[in-house]
Amino acid sequence: MLRATALTKSFGSLAVTAGVDLALPAGERHGLIGPNGAGKTTLFNLLSGELRPDSGQVLLDGVDVTHAPSDVRARAGLGRSFQRNNLFPDLTVRENLVIGVAIERGVTRVWWRGLHRDRAVVADAERQAAALGLGEELDTPVRHLSYGTQRQLEIGLALVRRPKVLLLDEPTSGMSPEETHAMLALIRGLPSALTLLIIEHDMDVIFEVADRITVLDYGRVLLEGTPEQVRASAEVRDRYLGLDEGLTP
């Protein structure tokens, strides 16, 4: 469903992504881990079109999207959330989701009729807010929401298009244990046909969610395998898991 071959990206002389191969069959839950600066978010940006690779190829559902900008990839079925909340801070929860729904339904070209007339769009946005547990916050400007709630909306906005492939960049970062628990439930509840690639520092979350895991280090794939293989790997333990012991939960 999502395949990357020999992706490279350098910033100046620093090779942030150095020949990464990745292949996700439909419906797979794939974890992406690695120490800070391993190039996880850069790889996400290459996959979603925020950045163009220096070389290599990105295939989405068999279609070469290497040179397609992020809006084209989004329309082709790729959704993503961002590591830092990337919302419309002055707009309300309802308005954030209405924008997402309006873009998804292609009604944003309509300039001659009031947006409030598109009741189906507003109703759909409200339904999605309720599904995210944000039904009480519809009229709250996003910047007034708690960090964890903004994080939920961040994922919710990525889900509006019902993507075929979803990239989640550290969905539980900065969350309290209860919020992490709620997020985990949300991720587990995603449709099984959805292909999921998830960056996460919380190993409990990643081992719980992922079918397979890719470990990234200095822009290269250190290891790719099942959670058991990753857990058992001395190299990964040495490079990543061991380093973090006692530092992050």
Binding site: D71, I99, T108, W111, L115, D118
Partner: protein, 330 residues
Amino acid sequence: MRRDPLQIPTVVLLVLAMAAWWHGADFYVHEVLLSEIALFAMLAMSLDLLVGYAGMVSLGHAAFLGIGAYVTAGLTVFLGWPVALAMPASALVAGLAALVVGSFVVRLGGVFFIMITLAIGQMVYAYFLKAREFGADDGMSGIPRLDLSFLGLDTADPAVFSAVLLLAALAVYLLLRVVVRSPYGATLVAIHQNEGRVRALGCPVHRYKLGAYVLAAAIAGLAGSLTTQHSSFVSPDLAFWTVSGEVLIMVILGGGGSIVGAAIGACAFLVLKHWLSAGESWEALGLPTFMADHWQLVMGSLFVLVVLVAADGIYGRARRLLRRDGPQAG
């Protein structure tokens, strides 16, 4: 996107105030003040679509005013077109110019967009300054006004023509109100807030920004056509960057992000300008009349003051007193 409870009362009040002023006005007020307010209100409202809604701060809006003015001048004086045809042609040519220019510039953001629109505005100015066929720096004169004799109206009468201009400004307001309340307008606001996320949601943002740029330019072209009819004269100065700067100041003064706010900005700026530059007003305050020569200094200080106490402009501040802020419908 949110309802703005202040909007309709403000518009009704503004329309009534203009109607009353028009009714009691003398020759000077019709010919100069009301006409200028209507023309600049059109420019400010269209620029607000870019600045306040889409977040595209242009310092070259006067280029399209100039293009519209020269198109009407050229078509009527050289080719003898009726003004009623030259007007839509002016809007069309200005819009097409914006389509060509915008295809490149809408990709730029922030200060780069400001500088490139400024540069393009100055290129248009420089062209008209040297274009002998359009009278170069002397400009052109003898541009006729819209013929409304079939309605029994004589547009040479300043009262009639100022009414035409005010009604045109009202029509521009109504059009832009529809646009900013639409899904398209909401998308522009979202692009302003977070362009990258709108793109990640699947929206080709450059095309949306280009659409706003073209619409704003077409309205400026129409305003240019009316400006040249009003003065029966056109000169390169119309396209000079200081005109763009004044319109931008009007938008900021009135409050970007609401169309009626931009119109209020144009009114406030022009009323103040005429009042401050008249010796009598200073005399009435018991101050020396030479202050009238320094009206720009006083105006500049007032502008700084407004920005300090109300960064969201006169209308934005008033609205904030009533409700929370943020871009609004209309």
